[in-house]
Symmetry: D4
Subunit: 246 residues, 8 copies
């Protein structure tokens, strides 16, 4: 079994950096490499973890929740070579994430991941989802600003929606878009509540609860503003082996 | 002072029954007679308040939140004449309300009140709204069980919706129907969250918040399961004088 | 199909700007043009959307939730002509909104919309409601700072209140003003909870719940601080056809 | 000092009954005897605690939150003498409380405690407050069912209100009555939120928050449905010594 | 286009029963037939909707949230033929659901759906998920009562888990099992919070929030106790076409 | 009618300033002049309202929730005479309030108001209460930093506590001090929850709920951080007429 | 692999019963045998799990959350021998728990566990804690009904408290007792919030939050009404090896 | 009375500083000296309290919740001697705490306190716990960044965990680590929820509730981010006398 061959005694599956215990075994276990959650870490901690992961054989690392200042500092340490050998570093400001190492692989999923968003203010989270999915080897179709207040905008894209493998629906306020999309298609829908809105939108709680209580079957939900989680889950679904190969 | 002229000593605008201070002046002030909230009152208290209001000149009384047992007891005291002169008493079990006195008047509103509901479980609340509106002199169109999980059911009725004077949208779970309806029509939409659903629907809180945060303009909301409040508000809107009289 | 006949290929009812899908069909569908929610959009996005809407034939555009800095930048792009042909741009700081294009139309509603506010701190939201209603062609009467702690201030205006077509009540803290106003008049009352107050006012939640649970009939509620929503709903009510045309 | 004389070593200020540690020192410390919270205690526990208190010299005991079944059983043990020497036992079903021992004393407070309630459904809690105050030696004026939806009912009693020493305002739903009363009078107002209402009244939370956030000064609040607490506090206020200057 | 051929004018895609608007078009649109939510419907309404769906060509109908009494009555109307031609009716008490019509089809999904539950009290919800998945044509592996308080019970099944196509994790209390399972496997994990637990488990809210906030990637969540939703979503994932067809 | 006699046309009981409707009748009605809530008002609005009130005959005005910057600006307009005739202006930074006009009157209450606080961080709110009470003519005793974690600090002051007319207890975190004080004395206790604490203190909600649920009788509660409200209520209690019997 | 050496094939550390996976390895791992949570299990499931555990060598089993009816049925299956060999079965109704097998062992802890409760209504939970501790081999001192409303009752027992090894404080309502006890002693305090109280006690949430926010150091908290959890934790603390063995 | 003998007039057990009542008796009472909560106090207040405590004989003082600016100012007043005799001052920025006076004592506890944290972002709170425990005389083992998403990292340290006297588990997000650790060991587990995470982690509420509802026995919980409280409680446990059997 392949597993045993890679898991020698001298490979405990993690590396202790003092401030972090990096899980270098994750790709083997789950099929996707470790991802770095940037919030609450310093730029140099981020850089060191990225180096450790790239050197342990992971071809690229995704860093999420990264603000522009930290991105610049981390870039100096990684891409510019101030912290060692230069490593590619691509920052996407709207989505607040960076890809360190080789650019995303060629799409190798079963089909297309469709990212649907309700309003222009949801776009940051939608892009986090879309870029995560691309990072993990998926072809992504974007369908933005098609909220239910003007439902003809969504219905005009019904065919495109119907042909996707999995849909990610990103919406704040009352989050109704998830229910409407799930009522239209048979593919699984992953809903992402966003903190967009004000007053009774309660920083995304309203959308979260609404998506959780959807009258349409086939909706599951990730945390508020968790575009990464949705992209990750969509990729897992889109890379399932399928029946044909058996 | 004008107020003094209207409020002769012999007409204080209320009658004290000991256990209640009945507002007999309400019809003059707001155009609609006093309504009796049945919960938390005994059948004989309800009967006595109804008598007082009918005898003070109000042609009919609406009793809401009335369960079948209390309805039967109140009927015995009012309609069957066990408690005095017989008075008409019509009970509607699904809506949990009764109309005491003359049947509802001929519709005299400006147009049609459309009551739209998402699922069959919302029907009790929808009927409370519809019957309240009829009680107050409105023509009512019912459009039930057209939730967004099968949006073609709603779109098939788009014309009927578009021609109403005011729409009441009754929905539980995630309450998305209110946003979709408000995106389709220009008439005011009154949304009624219901406690239908389970788990994360949280007894209607989810629908309430969602309706409050609707991405579509033109939605206002009444309390959870408050079909009466929606019917009342719709009637007020449907009886506005209009421009003609100027 | 009937829908296709109304939506010729050359008029999909929306324009895709890349970052936004602008609903140019909204005025036909709901009687009021698209409104731009300024929060979360850049000044140039706002300007581009306004241009698209004005060029699609909408005579004026309302931009809400617009802070002074963004207003200045958008003004430079629209009114000052830095971004194309000059377009009128009027900013109202207290209400945080701008009107782009022709000034508001002559009032053409059925009657007067009365905006009642509880305290001086509620005035920003009250003005958002009032200016929205004026933008949409309504005559507005303002009745500010008449909260229930000194109820004679409100009662002194009872006649003015009683003659309005629809009342908007704006209040924070415990929101009691909505119940008192609704007990005094027969016209529909739209309540706007504000985030005014501190401690147990919980950023408007207390007022929202209180207004939702009003003991007075005839109150419906919009989201916290949603002056725009109330003005929009009031306008819809005030422009209903009335009975005459039958 | 009087205190030392009553507090002999052989009087620890409490009696251990095994299942309860009865505070026989409370009257000395706070001026009011121990009160028994009936919920969660068996009828025989209640009876035994009452006996202990009466035998320790307290002239009468108030038992709150007592349902009819337990009241009957406790009555059998106390009044009917089944459990020892007969002791007077008066049960008030609406308020759910009993007075064991001598009937309430002659009023000896400084003035009148006014109990104001919003609706008929609030009456049980209002009576708990009123009877508690009477038990503790206060003259009580009852002003029931005068909620703000028909504010003339309250204004008609303005003089009576203005002359009281302390007002207890009992209201559910949105609890607006407390603010209105406190705006009218200078005496302290103790507000009691009740669990009356449904849907968004949230079992009294809405009224509690609203009363807490009252825009009128001079309101303090006790727990939901805590008529006893309000009556107790009102009595403490009404029995204050007055200006020591005399 | 295939769609137009099946959607003749004489097929509106729904049937109006008066009390319900049955969506007979759902199977075509989403690949799965309409499901009946039993709560809040009478036995005869349930029976009539089932008949309508079976007669419209759907081979079997799933009825969820069905208590034993209603199941018996519905069985009398459907299986026993009291309400028309006899139709097979299989009730599963623990899961609270019934299958009307032909028994579930042969599994035709891509792989195995694994249902993992934390404790014996979660079994009802777990069975709702498992039976729903089987109803929709999936092979299901059950792994029950393997909560994290004795993590060796779960680790003993690591291989079985690793080979599934999609995992459903059902847990109440603190819901930690979802994070642990998602850390072990690469397949998508659908988490179902249950209302199992007491006190601070808050009827499933704690588990819901915990699952939403999972530190492990690859978890999406459905509503509290919504075993049906999880089974449905899992089936959609397990029936995706896979890459082969390209 | 008596009211009409007191409200001559030239004295409507309020003055309209455009941005505010100042209640100049409040002192007559409630015995205490209007208080200005500084938050959400500009310095010049505050100054204008103060002038109006002082000129209407109120000897001094209390301005609460006033930050140092606004205080300085208002002082320039009032005390320094930049906005008209100079008026005394005393600012208390810790309590965030100012007294405009004559200094507080000689104490003329019945006894002493005791302000008890749990920790040093509660002192701002405690001072707001104490200065408010002094403003309104009360003698105040301060007992600060005597929380229950070292209960001997409180017990050492038992006599001082026992002799007060009314106690204000200011505490954050778990707010236990209110229950302990109310268990020790018979005078009414007004509890003020503060937003002091972190994490599960939830900005004062925990203390609010705890004080509301006090196991000790004789506690009523004002809003979070509402030192003003407590001082006001305490003053009302301390100025009650005493036994009318005289 | 080391793990395999400890877990021989014939001892997987658990037994699969179909409806449950019984953790027979728990005593080895944690020092305390598996405990059965009775709620949500049938009497026969409980009996079968108890048998499995006793037969696997655990000398006695604790069953918590067991109501009297289920206890009687389980007793019939275990003690009365209806379900196999008779096994001792002792039910404690107030605490809602049963001990199956040998009676609790001789106390072998380091010192005394003191269980302190605030009111008589907290006694059920207090007994659950006390009996759990005794079941696990601890000497228990009970100090009941000593809430802070009469703090002398607690102070009278200060020495007894000061000498215990660990204190469990059980309180509902505002839960202040935990802070006061922790301020008096140096031993660790485990606080158990109970659902005792009504209205704003919110089924124990208030006490939970208050205990969590205690101003006194040395308090940790278990879930609402979780007497078992507190007794278990106290036992773990009381059986720690102490320094001696070094 | 015994108490009076221990508290001579010259030793009241506290020192009044005007702004604070310092509890100098705490070490005698609870075995640990007074700790200063830095938030909400000025640097000079902190310095003065530290001096008072050190001069009253406490060898060292812990100051928590101290930000770098205040630390520098307090250091100037204490260590640098600007405020009197120089006193050692050691600041730990990550943990936000300072130790004033002699460095922590030699460990004198019974065993090792193990501090386990889930992610790198939890490290500040974990260090607050670890340094507090060291301050109080405990040997501490740190096991950081071993969250359940890669459970092999934790299992690799199973032996180290199993040998500790008490474990502190620090985790944000869903807090699952506490349940897993408690399932592995028999020593008491003190869980610290952190505010790490975003969206549905709700600033630590999710972790708090999850830890409270742990399916594993032997977990008690302190407030959100309350590393100090956990370290304090762990120290109390680790310093218990051990078997009196000696």
């Amino acid at each position: 079994m392949e597993r045993a061959e890679r898991h020698e005694p001298e490979d405990a599956g993690f590396v202790e950096l003092g401030f972090a215990t990096v899980d270098t075994d994750r790709a083997r276990r789950t099929g996707a490499g470790e991802v770095v959650f940037g919030a609450g870490k310093t730029a140099s901690e981020i850089a060191e973890i990225c180096r450790t992961l790239l050197e342990s054989g992971q071809p690229r690392v995704l860093v999420t929740r990264l603000d522009p200042e930290k991105a610049e500092a981390a870039s100096a340490l990684l891409e510019d070579g101030a912290g060692g050998a230069p490593m590619p570093f691509a920052y996407h400001e709207r989505a607040g994430l960076a890809i360190v190492g080789e650019p995303p692989a060629e799409p190798n999923g079963n089909g297309v991941v469709c990212v649907v968003s309700a309003g222009t203010s949801d776009e940051g989270v939608a892009e986090e989802a879309a870029l995560t999915a691309e990072f993990l080897g998926n072809e992504v179709a974007r369908l933005y600003d098609v909220g239910v207040a003007g439902i003809h905008r969504l219905l005009a894209h019904e065919d495109r929606l119907a042909s996707c493998q999995v849909a990610i629906v990103v919406a704040g306020m009352e989050g109704a878009l998830a229910s409407v999309v799930a009522g239209l298609i048979g593919a699984p829908v992953i809903a992402v509540p966003t903190s967009v809105g004000y007053g009774s939108a309660f920083e995304g709680i309203t959308a979260l609860l609404a998506m959780m209580s959807s009258c349409a079957s086939g909706v599951s939900v990730v945390g508020i503003d968790n575009g990464f989680g949705a992209g990750y889950q969509a990729s897992a679904i889109n890379h399932l082996p399928g029946k044909a190969r058996h």
